[in-house]
């Protein structure tokens, strides 16, 4: 009887693993199979044309804009906030409140961020549906990610580095940028890269704050669409699965590139500090 139960469970384990892998392979396979036909130099670097047959260069540019702007804002704030929490603050009520807020921000679904962005950045601050409004919304979304990963990597910096530096008459600030941040760099970088992934994958919040204009953005105050929003819209409005899948290929390649560069960079940095 026990053998039977064991075998049944073992069978279920194999089946589940098989199902998971199969279905996930299917998704990637499907996207490549459907979209590969459209991929060409012209498709990636060409201008968009509403009649079809055009490229997705404007969406790539928009996506890059949102990544760059939100990281320019979120990275310093996030790192410094983590530094405050881990290196400066007295562990007390204020820190607990800040931690609670950061954790809560992580749990909020992106559509709520979108709602907030649509009213606060778009309407109240009069930025309009624009790349900048979307980027500011995305900044709030990735801020907790950067704070958390930075804090985690600050935890790995040995306390003896801090003591050693302070005992040599260095200030906390000098200690921070000369010893602590360099040692924590691999972790911080992986946090930033995670954030890029999050920004690239985000759709709902961008949809409500950047709008859907399918043209090359004139400035960061123009409305525009990112790759994910484009993929969504061509499916929803035109049912153009092939186009959506082709955009999907570009997205997957970007995600892969991000992941590999993350692994590469952290390996390289680890080597550099521990050689």
């Amino acid at each position: 009887m026990r053998d039977f139960k064991d075998n049944l469970l073992r069978g279920l384990l194999w089946l589940s693993a098989f199902l998971s892998v199969a279905v996930l392979l299917m998704i990637v396979g499907f996207i490549f199979y459907k979209g590969m036909g459209l991929i060409s130099f012209e498709f990636i670097f060409g201008d968009y044309s509403p009649e079809g047959g055009g490229g997705i260069w404007p969406m790539i540019v928009t996506t890059v804009y949102t990544i760059v702007i939100s990281l320019i804002i979120a990275t310093p704030i996030g790192i410094l906030a983590a530094v405050y929490l881990h290196e400066y603050a007295k562990q007390g009520r204020l820190v607990r409140i800040i931690r609670f807020a950061t954790e809560s921000l992580t749990g909020i679904p992106s559509i709520i961020y979108g709602l907030f962005g649509a009213v606060f950045f778009v309407t109240t601050l009069k930025l309009g549906m624009s790349i900048i409004a979307a980027s500011l919304t995305l900044t709030i979304i990735v801020l907790p990610v950067i704070i958390r990963t930075t804090e985690e990597s600050l935890k790995t910096v040995p306390a003896s580095y801090r003591e050693g530096s302070l005992a040599l008459g260095n200030t906390k600030l000098q200690t921070l940028y000369k010893v602590i941040l360099p040692s924590a760099m691999p972790g911080i970088l992986s946090g930033i890269i995670l954030s890029i992934g999050r920004i690239v994958g985000e759709s709902a919040a961008i949809f409500l704050t950047a709008g859907t204009v399918a043209a090359m953005p004139e400035s960061i105050f123009s409305s525009a669409r990112t790759l994910t929003v484009h993929s969504y819209l061509v499916t929803q409005e035109a049912g153009d699965i092939e186009l959506a899948a082709a955009v999907g290929i570009v997205l997957i390649v970007i995600i892969l590139a991000i992941n590999f560069s993350a692994t590469y960079i952290s390996k390289k940095l680890n080597k550099a500090t521990n050689k």
């Binding site: 003591e163 040599l168 010893v179």
Partner: protein, 280 residues
């Protein structure tokens, strides 16, 4: 009030009698009280860790702090360069006067730490080259001139008796050195700040016997230039290298005297029990 002060006064009187002026005496340095600690109490939150510690530490001598684990000797050492400031819950009462300045009423803790260097229990070099480690302190003080830095690094490494071992690999990572070498580079790093006082917190506890011997030799040489306060678990070490020894027990100084006296004719029964190995 305490023996050191009496001793000190006695010596001064003697010196005066033999015709040497006080000012001359001060210039020579040796034998002057460099650090004066008066009635020092330290609390970790509610818990008191040091009880009314008073002792004077003489200039250009090695003063050893001995006692069983948890007796407060390391805590005391860390009050001398205010490293305990890093812990939020620490409260301190009493006075510590170094170079005629009360270090807890003066707010310039940076200056204090440049004048009072520290070597830790485990070598704690940064993940940088040997050169950058030694130049770290001077650079923090704004010295950027390459020649000047080169000079400081060489002098400091020579001062820590490790120049010959590392001069060909100054630009390689300091973490590739052996433990004993790392600890001597840590000492060089402290010397590079040209401090008056160097605090050492069990500097040989992580080292093998040969490296320990080298560091001990170094310490005896260094007292020519520096006032050294060393915490040690190893009583033979205290006996070998120190001029004066303070015996700590449960946060109090039980006995403070010439090292020879502490080890040959201790006045307190507890000191005798400890140095003869009956407890601890």
């Amino acid at each position: 009030m305490n023996r050191a002060l009496k001793e000190h006064t006695k010596e001064l009187v003697k010196q005066n009698e033999t015709g040497k002026g006080i000012s001359e005496m001060a210039q020579r340095g040796k034998g002057n009280a460099k650090i004066k600690v008066k009635d020092l109490n330290l609390f970790y939150g509610e818990k008191q860790a040091l009880f009314g510690v008073s002792l004077d530490i003489n200039e250009k001598e090695v003063t050893a702090l001995i006692g069983p684990s948890g007796c407060g000797k390391s805590t005391f050492l860390r009050t001398l360069n205010r490293m305990n400031d890093l812990i939020d819950s620490v409260k301190i009462t009493g006075d510590i006067i170094i170079n005629d300045e009360n270090i807890y009423t003066s707010s310039d803790v940076i200056k204090l730490r440049t004048k009072v260097g520290m070597v830790f229990q485990k070598p704690n070099l940064f993940p940088m080259s040997i050169y950058d480690n030694v130049a770290y302190g001077p650079r923090g003080q704004g010295i950027k001139n390459k020649k000047e830095l080169d000079k400081i690094v060489e002098e400091s490494l020579r001062g820590a008796a490790i120049w010959d071992e590392v001069k060909d690999r100054l630009k390689t990572s300091a973490l590739g050195l052996s433990g004993g070498q790392q600890q001597r580079v840590c000492i060089a790093r402290a010397i590079a700040m040209k401090p008056d006082v160097i605090l050492m917190d069990e500097p040989t506890s992580a080292l093998d016997p040969i490296s320990t011997l080298k560091v001990e030799e170094l310490i005896t040489q260094m007292k020519e230039d520096f006032t050294i306060v060393i915490v040690t678990h190893n009583m033979q070490q205290a006996a070998r290298i120190s001029d004066k020894t303070a015996f700590f027990l449960n946060g109090e100084v039980v006995e403070y005297d010439e090292t020879d006296n502490i080890f040959s004719t201790p006045k307190d029964q507890r000191t005798e029990d400890y140095v003869t190995g009956r407890f601890g």
